[in-house]
């Protein structure tokens, strides 16, 4: 035992503590490699929301980059919110970091997501539409193929796809493809029932009343977020709002105008009943 450790240790260090010396050498080499290849570590870094309340639930303090993330609209009518959340994620986490296209794969075969994305709408949320490549597919198979192909190419910063059904095996394949490429794959799943999947996180996005400015105008969209599943993390539930100008998430003030809205809601129902 002693012989081998001595052999491995550097002869000049006096062999005071050979294991420690080796560790020091190794960390120096790793640091040197990191310095030489600045991009490598960047790709693997998780993407933080910038909200401690959320980030503490996620492994390593952010969304894993080379992973599959499912975004599920909580109700059928919450689909625009789900899209909005993905756009906010892309803008907040990726678009600022580096240049590169973002790929959206949208099916033309189902009515579930038949409403097309609008370039001006994306622009209003702070995402430059010129960076988006829109892929329209005719079958579910094509969507999955296109997503895997885009990930394999290593070109896009992120891939977003809307898929209505997905089995466990396919989700494992996509998760592997995302992991290999180091790019996140956001899957929007407008489906009433969800199968088991290999996704790293599953978010359920519900509608919430938007934040208003002092003139009563809609200032920042809000979403009811539910982190339903999270590998190596904890599930949670938040109401977040997104500022399209600063590209930043923040937690919605919890009880600020809750009572007010409930009262006005009741009043309007009464009015509707009377009229």
């Amino acid at each position: 035992m002693a012989d081998t450790t001595e052999l491995l240790a550097e002869p000049s260090t006096g062999a005071q503590n050979p294991v420690e010396t080796r560790m020091a050498v190794r960390s120096a080499v790793v640091a040197e490699l990191r310095r030489l290849l600045p991009g490598v570590d960047d790709i693997r870094k998780p993407l933080p929301f910038g909200l401690p309340a959320l980030d503490s639930h996620l492994p390593r303090g952010g969304l894993a980059r080379g992973a599959l993330h499912e975004i599920v609209p909580a109700t059928e009518t919450a689909l625009p919110s789900a899209f909005g959340f993905v756009v906010a994620l892309l803008t907040n986490m990726l678009a600022k970091l580096s240049r590169g296209p973002l790929i959206f794969i949208l099916p033309g075969y189902t009515r579930l997501v038949s409403t097309p994305l609008s370039g001006h709408g994306l622009n209003s949320l702070g995402l430059d539409p010129a960076r988006i490549t829109l892929v329209e597919t005719a079958h579910r198979k094509d969507s999955l193929w296109a997503a895997a192909e885009a990930l394999h190419s290593g070109v896009p910063l992120a891939v977003t796809a809307a898929i209505d059904r997905l089995d466990l095996k396919t989700s494992q394949k996509l998760q592997l493809a995302a992991n290999d490429s180091g790019r996140p794959l956001f899957l929007i799943r407008p489906a009433p029932t969800l199968e088991a999947s290999a996704a790293a996180t599953r978010w359920r996005v519900g509608v919430a009343q938007a934040a208003r400015d002092r003139f009563g105008l809609l200032a920042r969209p809000r979403w009811h977020l539910q982190l339903e599943r999270c590998r190596n993390g904890r599930p949670g539930e938040w109401k977040v709002e997104y500022d399209h100008v600063t590209h930043r998430f923040s937690l919605a003030a919890a009880l600020a105008d809750h009572a007010l809205s409930r009262r006005s809601s009741a009043r309007s129902h009464k009015q509707a009943g009377r009229s």
Partner: protein
Amino acid sequence: MQGLALGDSLADARAKAEGLQVHPLDTAADDAALRRVALWATRYTPTASPWCRDFWDDETGADGFFLDIEGAAHLFGGEDKLIADLAERLSHFGLPARLAVAATPGAAWALSHFHHAPLFVLPSGDEASALADLPVDALRLAPDIRSSLRRLGFKTVGALLDKPRAPFAARFSAQLLQRVDQALGLLDEPLIPVVAPPVYHSLNYLLEPIMAQEAVIARTDRLMQTLANVLARDDAGARALRLCLYRVDGAVETVDIGLTLPTRNVAHVVRLFDLKLAALAAAHDTGFDSEFGYEAIGLAVTRAEPMPARQIEISSTDLSGDSVGPVTGDAAERYAALIDTLRGRLGPQRVRRFEPAESHIPERAEVLTEADVDSEDARDEESAWPLTDEKSRPLLLLPQAEPTEVTALVPDGPPRRFCWRGVTYYIAGSQGPERIGAEWWRTPFGQTKPTRDYYLVEDFSGHRFWLYREGLYGRETADARWYVHGLFA
């Protein structure tokens, strides 16, 4: 058949031969068939040009084609061997052919029609002597010139050639001397090829016909390797390629692909052809069907663009071994390769991007155009999109605004409640109106399109919609209708 001749009347022909089958002339089908054969003949040379109708103004239509075999004959062991091979293959299709090789299209045409031998090769420079004995019809002249020449006693081409030119120029249309000069090679005669001649071309004849898609792809790979070397030598890259598959029964299948950026990447091009063949097979619902097999395969670069040699960029993803794909190179190249691959399987108009359009009508304010790879400088420019803060626009815009039932307190006020797709939404707050007028310059004179008042509304649970009221209440309409046009995030 017994005594039948060209130019007989139908009644005579019927009297001579019993059970004669008569079909009306279908010139369109004839032309299509001729085009098909000419396309097949591109296996000999890239330039095949079917004859046009103005060569021979009678009713039978064009019945042959020119092949420009300059520089191609040696591949078949000489001109004699080439036309012998061509004649044999045509006879297998049931087409008895008369072939002639000459230095000019005019001479070749004349010899193929009026020389006694069905296959004839005229050595270059002998045009005048070879044509001298042929009738004046051999010059591809309009019928009225032919008949007046015959009336003047000119029976052969030789008789014309001996005479001074000036009187002919004065008496006849310019066509006569033009045809004479073209036949003798004094005047150029450009050929109109059946398909655009490729810039780079590589052809492979196979000993045994091949049937399987994998075999075709393997062969394409070899052809592309040959082409890639030639392209690299010329500092050029392919923007469009055509794969010609020559079937044993004479049909030709062509597969065209386009590329976003010029490329010399063999693996990428071959993969695109593979995807395209698979897509074609899927479209026909039969699987890959080569019928009797392919006997020759040609790969041509139909559009080439300069592509200077560049040092390959080593990106961090390559170093970490993250990206494993057939395509290497810089980011723009890989992006172009991705677009090509997606387009190869999904078809054109499926990979697109947003482009702002000059209009304030929401549905016309943007268009989707085919995705393209920007050059580096274009990407650094300011975005063509307006600044974010001006107006809020819905993330999802309905392709067609959908009519909705709206309850409002006053006819020209904001909505209080509306029903859309079977659900009633009670509005908690609304923002607007944003008035968007119709584009009067697009509507016909005298007509007006209603103005729209857009409201951003939010219901009590937090759904956000973009509604509009069509028509100004009291001015343009008495009964304004409401539409849902978009959904906010």
